[in-house]
Structure formats: structure tokens, C-alpha cells
Amino acid sequence: MPDSVKINQSTIRLIKGDLTALDVEAFVFYARPDLALGSGFGNAISMRGGSTIKEELEKIGGIKSGEAVATAAGELKAGYIIHAAGPAFHEENIEGKLLITMENALKCAEEKGIKQLAFPPMGAGFFAVPLPVCAKVMIESIKRYLSGDTGIKEVIICAADNRDYKSFAVELAAID
């Protein structure tokens, strides 16, 4: 199965790795509307990135579900973090809400002039978005966005383990 697919002038690339340690222009953090970093990736952002990220988030205050906001990435290798608040815990219309969240995260990156953006499996895992749904919606959304007029040249999907990786590999292989 391919680990990357070309869409117009852009690439979708699938990797297995450590999201918050990636040397990329920006990565997406699946946030809560109150923008608290919390545990998991939030803990890694706090530990590796330092306190300035939290301070910037506190100034922003919060976002609505489905929205995305960018902050600097402190001492992380990435330049920016896109904080996107998506659906969680089997709430109604997961697919529709995840699509909106994806679109807003991509637009937010575009507005910042970001050309390389990494995503985790959005909402899968702790937030209980079913992995097959997550993979299908994410690939569909990224494909649609990159098919349009965009400055984003590379979208990376960063799987935490083989379980995540396999689900995305199947969806990636299905791209025409």
C-alpha cells in the first residue's frame, strides 16, 4: 500500500511517529473548546514546548466546537500548533462535525501561510471517534481541500501505532 498520494501539486503522506516531536511547519492538536491542553498530546506540548503556548491559549480563551485557532509552538520543532475542537464521545453527527473541524483546521493553516501540516487521527482514541470513520472522513476532507486552490503542499497523517496506521493506509490506497 502507498504511504503517500499526490493530489494536484500537494501530497498526503502517512507516517508512524510522535506527533508533537515532528519537525514540521505545523501540527494539529485535537483540542477541547476551553483550549485546556490537558493530558496526552497536551501534556507533551506542555512538557516539550514550554509555558508560552498555554499563556497564548489563555489569552484566546476558548473556541466553539468545530473551530480552529493557531498558536506558536514554543520550544517545539514545529512552528505552529493548530488547535481544533472536534466532536467527541459519540455525540450526534460525528462525521459532519469532523468534516467541518478538518476544513477549519486546514483553512486556519492556510491563513497562516503554512505549507506543511501534520494531523493526528482526529478524535480517534480517547475522544472515541471510531477509527474507520476518522480515517474515511479525514482522507476525504484532505483530498477535497487539496483538490482546490491551496498553498498547502504537504499534509502528513501521523499515526501513533500500527493500528492507526493500517486504517489510514486502507483509505489512502482507495484514493483514485
Binding site: 516531536a21 493530558s39 496526552g40 507533551a44 464521545f89 459519540h90 480517547f126 493500528r163
Partner: protein, 453 residues
């Protein structure tokens, strides 16, 4: 019929229940005859004798009534007759949360004492998982689960910190043994043993890693530690989230396979042992061919085979042994730790009841991470405190990191003045150097509920 509107979360929970019902759970849901035997086995009931809401049968009925209303024909046709009742509001779900997380440690003592074979702990765990799936859970459960999903271990230890700690312990080991070959190998291919640990060891008690390392080294073991997939604990067991259980266990199995290790050895941890060795393959949906064993069995084998030598006469304190519920009741691991302990101490005092009838440390089932229930937990710990006090022992030994924390907390609360340690610490001390110098086991580091915040 009621016209009460059901919340979306309650709808999802009921739909999810349909998927979770298997023969074991349905058998347990229909078999209860309310004989009351479970009340005599539960540490919550024994320490709250005037409150019937702690009885396992009562708690089970909170779940059973939903099952009857939606999945049992008697409850669908005659709900008033069989006590069937649905669930509607978020407040009702919150009440259920306080029962299944706050009033039960899933210790399974009631399960093995039920003459009808009702396994309350199993469907209590099922309900935990259903509540977690709709986002209703204690804050500590959320924190720990998210760490394990996203960082790969339940204490959020970053990869660089894990590697740093292993390298540090490797240096300590070299220095202590004065042997440059005494190192902790990381990601060594084709090792006979891949050693997996609890993140608590990295974060709060790293000397247990070097203690184990010393034993492996002195035994001449061909061993390694993995750079990832090293956390053999599994919060999925506590939260009821089978997907988390499968993801975590899968990472351990896949890494061991990638390293072509011949065996996975699981450090002393009750729920880690049960999750990795017993439940994990089912959660992960994997055929796991690599054998797995507790480090207790590994250490005992070294002594039996003469690969390490011990001298019990050098250790004259009085010791008792606490059986972890997951090790003893759920996995039958209770004779080997006693055999090993008796090989390294002269004064062993059995605790009663023991083995599969032992009482929970009262910090099981993830209770140590749920600070909102701490007063209730410590009150219920009186039964364990009495058990410990009656032994008259100076030191309680256990083969479970979670029990170390639970016991340490209750020993402090009830002012028992006992030390808590694990077999790996004792055996390593006994084997230190060539002269069998026995020193007093290190007191374990107390871990408070706040550490999970």
C-alpha cells in the same frame, strides 16, 4: 409508558450495551437470586454495614434494571413486575458513574463468592466502558486514559524521559555492581526476554528497574527492554474501554514481535499481568504466539535453577504478603510469590484471608486515580488495615505497583507503621554483590491521588 425524553448519551449507552452483552454478562445479569452472599465478601459493605447501597447485588441491580427494560423479554412486557427501568438523563448517568467507579474496585471477591456465578465485576466494568464511551467518567480516568492513548503509557512519560531513565539506571547498575558489562540493553534483537514495566517505575520508583536489571544480569539472562511498547499496564482494564485495552496490549505484542524476542516478562503489576497476559489478546483481536510470564515466575526460576543465589538467614525482619486481586483472583498467581518470598526471608507471616480470598488493597480498579472518591476508599480500607495489623509483620510485600500505592496510602492513614515493598526489590538486595549482603528493603515512594492530576 413514560414520555420522558431520553438524552443522546443515554441512547448511545443503551445501544452500546446491546453490543457488549455476551453469554457471560447475560448469565450474570439474569442469575442473581439476591441471596446476600456477595455482601459478606465486599470490603465496601463490610466497612459500611448500615448502608445497603454498597451491596454488590444492589449495585448490580442498577445495571440489571436497564438490561431488563431493553434486552430481556420479561422486562419489556412486565417492567413493573421484574423491576425493569430505563435510563434517561445525564444526572442518572452521573449517578451510575459514582456507583461503578466510586463504590467498586472490580476486585472480583464477590464474583468468586457468588453461588450463582454472578460476575458483578465484569458487568460493572462493562458499564464503566459504556459511560466512558459517552464521556462520563471521573476526571482522573480521563487524564490517565488520554495519556495512554496518545503518549503510549498511562503516566504520560515522554519517550526521551523513558530512555534517559533507563540509561541512568543502567549507569547506576554498572556502578553498584562495579561491572562495565552490567547494562540495560534497549531494543536488542533476538533476546530471550523482553522486559516490560509499569510507567510508575520510570516516574516514581526507577530503582525497581535497576533492581530487575541486576537480577537479569546476575542470572546471565539474554534480555532487553523495548524503546516503545514498554508499558504493560492497561487502563482499559479499569476504564472498561476495550479499544484502549486492545491498542495498548497490541503495542506491547507488536514490539516484542518486531524485536524477535522469545518471551515477554511482565514486571510486578497485578492489572498489567492480567491485561497483558490474560485479556490483551482478546481486546486486541490478535493471536499472540509469544509466551508471557510474570517476573515473579522468572525470578523464582532463576533461584530454582541456581542462576542466582539467595541467603534468607541474612534477612530477619518479619514479612507478610498481600495478594493483588488481579494476580491472585483473576490469574491464579499466588503460590509462586510465596515460594519466592520464603526463599529470601526467615520470618514470613501469612495474612488471613489470603490468596484468591484476599481483600483488595482498596486502591484497585483505578481507584488511586479517582481523587473524588478518596475518603470513601480510605474508609473501606479499614478491612485491609485490620488484616495487615493482625499479622504483626513489619513489612508487607506485594507483587503489584498499584497495591504498593494503595497499601502505602492506607498504612499512612491508619498509622500502621509498616513498610511496603515488592519481591524484585527484596531479591535484588539479597543478591547484591557476591557476598549476599542483605539490606533493609527500600520503603516505597508514596503516591498520592494528586499525582494523577
Amino acid at each position: 409508558m413514560t414520555n420522558k425524553k431520553r438524552s443522546h448519551q443515554a441512547e448511545v449507552l443503551i445501544e452500546g450495551m446491546a453490543e457488549k452483552l455476551n453469554r457471560q454478562i447475560v448469565g450474570s445479569l439474569v442469575a442473581c437470586v439476591h441471596c446476600g452472599n456477595c455482601t459478606r465478601s465486599c470490603h465496601y459493605v463490610l466497612t459500611n454495614p448500615d448502608d445497603p447501597t454498597f451491596a454488590p447485588a444492589y449495585k448490580a441491580d442498577r445495571i440489571r434494571k436497564i438490561f431488563k427494560r431493553h434486552f430481556d423479554w420479561t422486562g419489556r412486557v412486565f417492567p413493573w413486575w421484574v423491576g425493569a427501568k430505563s435510563i434517561f438523563t445525564v444526572e442518572e448517568l452521573e449517578e451510575l458513574k459514582d456507583i461503578v467507579f466510586g463504590k467498586c474496585t472490580n476486585c472480583r471477591r464477590c464474583s468468586i463468592n457468588c453461588p450463582m456465578g454472578v460476575d458483578y465485576a465484569t458487568f460493572n466494568r462493562m458499564m464503566r466502558g459504556l459511560l466512558v464511551s459517552v464521556g462520563i467518567m471521573p476526571e482522573g480516568v480521563a487524564v490517565v486514559s488520554k495519556d495512554q492513548w496518545e503518549i503510549g503509557n498511562q503516566m504520560g512519560v515522554l519517550p526521551e524521559d523513558y530512555i534517559d531513565t533507563i540509561e541512568w539506571m543502567s549507569e547506576e547498575m554498572q556502578s553498584e555492581l562495579d561491572d562495565p558489562t552490567a547494562v540495560i540493553p534497549i531494543d536488542k534483537m533476538d533476546a530471550d526476554i523482553v522486559y516490560t514495566i509499569n510507567p510508575r517505575e520510570v516516574k516514581y520508583d526507577p530503582r525497581t528497574i535497576s533492581d530487575a536489571g541486576k537480577i537479569f544480569h546476575l542470572a546471565g539472562e539474554n534480555w532487553t527492554m523495548p524503546s516503545e511498547g514498554w508499558d504493560m499496564t492497561n487502563f482499559g482494564l479499569f476504564s472498561g474501554d476495550d479499544a484502549l485495552g486492545g491498542a495498548v496490549a497490541g503495542r506491547v505484542y507488536e514490539k516484542a514481535k518486531e524485536l524477535r524476542a522469545k518471551k515477554i516478562v511482565i514486571s510486578e503489576c497485578g492489572h498489567g499481568y492480567r491485561s497483558t497476559r490474560c485479556e490483551g489478546p482478546n481486546w486486541a483481536g490478535m493471536d499472540v504466539e509469544i509466551p508471557m510470564e510474570s517476573s515473579v515466575i522468572t525470578m523464582l526460576r532463576y533461584v530454582r535453577e541456581g542462576r542466582i543465589k539467595v541467603d534468607k538467614t541474612r534477612n530477619t525482619k518479619s514479612y507478610t504478603f498481600h495478594d493483588s486481586c488481579n494476580n491472585a483472583r483473576s490469574c491464579g498467581l499466588f503460590e509462586e510469590p510465596r515460594e519466592l518470598l520464603n526463599l529470601v526471608v526467615t520470618d514470613f507471616r501469612e495474612m488471613y484471608p489470603n490468596r484468591s480470598e484476599n481483600y483488595c488493597c482498596t486502591g484497585g480498579g483505578g481507584a488511586m486515580s479517582m481523587s473524588e472518591y478518596t475518603p470513601l476508599r480510605l474508609k473501606s480500607a479499614k478491612i485491609k488495615a485490620d488484616q495487615l495489623r493482625e499479622t504483626g509483620a513489619e513489612v508487607v510485600v506485594t507483587s503489584c505497583h498499584n497495591c504498593v500505592d494503595g497499601l502505602t496510602d492506607l498504612i499512612k492513614h491508619y498509622k500502621l507503621g509498616m513498610e511496603v515493598t515488592q519481591l524484585v526489590n527484596m531479591e535484588s538486595e539479597v543478591n547484591k554483590g557476591s557476598g549476599f549482603n542483605v539490606s533493609i528493603p527500600r520503603r516505597s515512594i508514596a503516591l498520592s491521588s494528586n499525582d494523577f492530576k
